[in-house]
């Protein structure tokens, strides 16, 4: 029986080798290292995030913003379905790129961590602690053969006594704080845009439009498909509570962003001619 299994495995490996070419047999389980010291299953889980919806988070002068750009999956779906931004605690919100069901697990865990922390320590959970705990949670999935890593990340926005924060907790178990970060499709372009800005000087309202602009620009516009931008923020204006950006303001930001992009396109067309 053992011999037969080996033969079957090898033929599967051959198939995979021709398909991916990278893993070469060291990528069949999360408890296997490659000779270079890589754990491929964890890297593949990261690819689920990299090829998924675009999510942006920025920390401004007076608050922090999270934005998700969701392509319309089917015309029959109500707008506002499959939300990707959640409230973890009054002072903390989270956006989940990558696989949404996996992301929901992370949100649920974050909510429990925040509640337990409050119950035991009597104060709201500091964002660094929350994001570290979430990263440790993700990492645990890469230690056991019978589990698979989560195919999502957690982009956390918060505003506490130390100011606005944006943290990214990744599926491989790292967690960093950012001035601004983008994950998912088109992240490189968005990151380049964000690096140009002086985020510390921008107000949240100004940044809303800029974030919409980044998201719309990175879309592969040949498809002309419909999309929805989900926006949420936590700022002085919202009394340091994490809430969805009100519909009118969200629409206004999106429209202004679209207008600016059209204007830039026209200007560049003029220059070319």
């Amino acid at each position: 029986f053992g011999a037969r299994r080996k033969r079957v495995e090898r033929s599967d490996q051959n198939k995979l080798r021709s398909m991916s070419g990278v893993g070469s047999g060291y990528d069949l389980s999360v408890t296997t290292f490659s000779p270079e010291g890589r754990v491929f299953q964890v890297e593949y889980a990261g690819k689920a995030v990299d090829n998924g919806v675009a999510v942006v988070g920025v920390a401004c002068k007076d608050g922090a913003i999270l934005a998700v750009e969701k392509p319309e999956e089917t015309k029959m779906m109500l707008p506002g379905s499959n939300r990707r931004i959640f409230t973890v605690a009054k002072h903390v919100g989270m956006a989940v790129p990558g696989k949404l069901p996996d992301g929901r697990q992370m949100v649920s865990r974050a909510q429990q961590e925040a509640e337990n922390y409050k119950r035991f320590y009597g104060t709201t959970i500091p964002t660094k602690v929350l994001s570290d705990r979430l990263a440790n949670y993700c990492h645990a999935f890469s230690l056991y053969w019978h589990l698979r890593p989560l195919g999502s990340a957690a982009l956390t926005a918060s505003y506490d006594d130390q100011g606005p924060h944006i943290y990214l907790s990744e599926t491989n178990g790292v967690s960093y704080r950012y001035y601004g970060i983008a994950v998912g499709k088109g992240r490189q372009g968005i990151k380049t845009e964000l690096e140009r800005l002086k985020l510390g000087n921008l107000s949240c309202r100004e940044a809303l439009k800029i974030v919409c602009k980044c998201l719309i620009k990175q879309r592969d516009d040949t498809s002309n498909k419909k999309f929805e931008i989900e926006l949420a923020w936590i700022s002085d204006e919202t009394n340091k509570q994490f809430v969805r950006v009100p519909k009118e303001l969200a629409k206004e930001s999106e429209d202004e962003a679209k207008k600016e992009i059209e204007q830039e396109d026209e200007d560049s067309d003029d220059m070319e001619s």
Binding site: Y121, G122, P126, V129, D161
Partner: protein, 234 residues
């Protein structure tokens, strides 16, 4: 050792800190104060006890009730707060968190516990704070608090004489005066008066020796050295 005397019936009495403890805020910090008598029935097991225990940096716990119970609570609080401090990093533990942990332990185990505690300290966000966790496991933030068997004799005194924004030396003198008044009336309180002062710059533990504790109402003054005996001529 337990420090209890076997009485005629052979049963040991639990070691108690029938006590006077207090803590109060001043402008920029807190002062904690306590007597030093640990009694087991009528036997004074320790006449120089330290009832003010450090649970983490800049946060202290005054203990009254069962010595065993409160020492156990302090031990657990210290354990959890050390772990908490590591997780927080440079942020530093808040007094509120320390008090909440003490409260959780007291409340969850309320059936078995005989402990009235005061948590007080200083942190950089909220300054000096005092939290009282009486028996039963409530948690209250207060500007000043008194506890233990001796506290009943000085409730009115502290209510009347505490004022906000005292200076450090005013506050220390106030605490020492209050504890000495309780000692003069409560049989379970006595010995020395220990104080801990916590503010932004320091956390200082001091004690007032027994002979320097103020006495009232013709109490026998504690004297140092051999007593001079005068013989009356017949």
């Amino acid at each position: 050792e337990k420090g209890a005397m076997a009485t005629g019936s052979g049963k040991m009495k639990e070691v108690l800190t029938g006590t006077t403890i207090m803590a109060c805020t001043y402008d920029g910090g807190v002062v904690l104060g306590a007597d030093s008598r640990t009694s087991s029935g009528n036997y004074v097991a320790n006449k120089v006890a330290d009832k003010i225990t450090k649970v983490c940096d800049k946060v202290y716990l005054c203990r009254s009730g069962s010595a065993a119970h409160t020492q156990a609570v302090a031990g657990y609080a210290n354990l959890y707060l050390n772990q908490h401090a590591i997780e927080l990093g440079e942020k530093g533990v808040c007094v509120r968190s320390a008090a909440n942990i003490v409260k959780e332990i007291a409340y969850t185990n309320k059936q078995w516990m005989n402990a009235g505690m005061i948590v007080a300290g200083w942190d950089k966000n909220e300054g000096g704070q005092v939290f009282v966790v009486p028996m039963g496991g409530t948690l209250m933030e207060v500007p000043f608090a008194v506890g233990g068997s001796g506290s009943i004799y000085i409730n009115a005194f502290v209510d009347k004489n505490w004022k906000p924004k005292m200076t450090k030396s005013e506050c220390k003198a106030f605490v020492r005066k209050a504890v000495s008044l309780a000692i003069s009336r409560d049989g379970s309180s006595g010995g020395v008066i220990r104080t801990v002062t916590v503010d932004k710059d320091e956390q200082v533990k001091e004690f007032l020796p027994g002979n320097e504790v103020q006495v009232y109402h013709d109490e026998i003054q504690f004297s140092q050295g051999a007593q001079k005996v005068e013989f009356v001529k017949a």
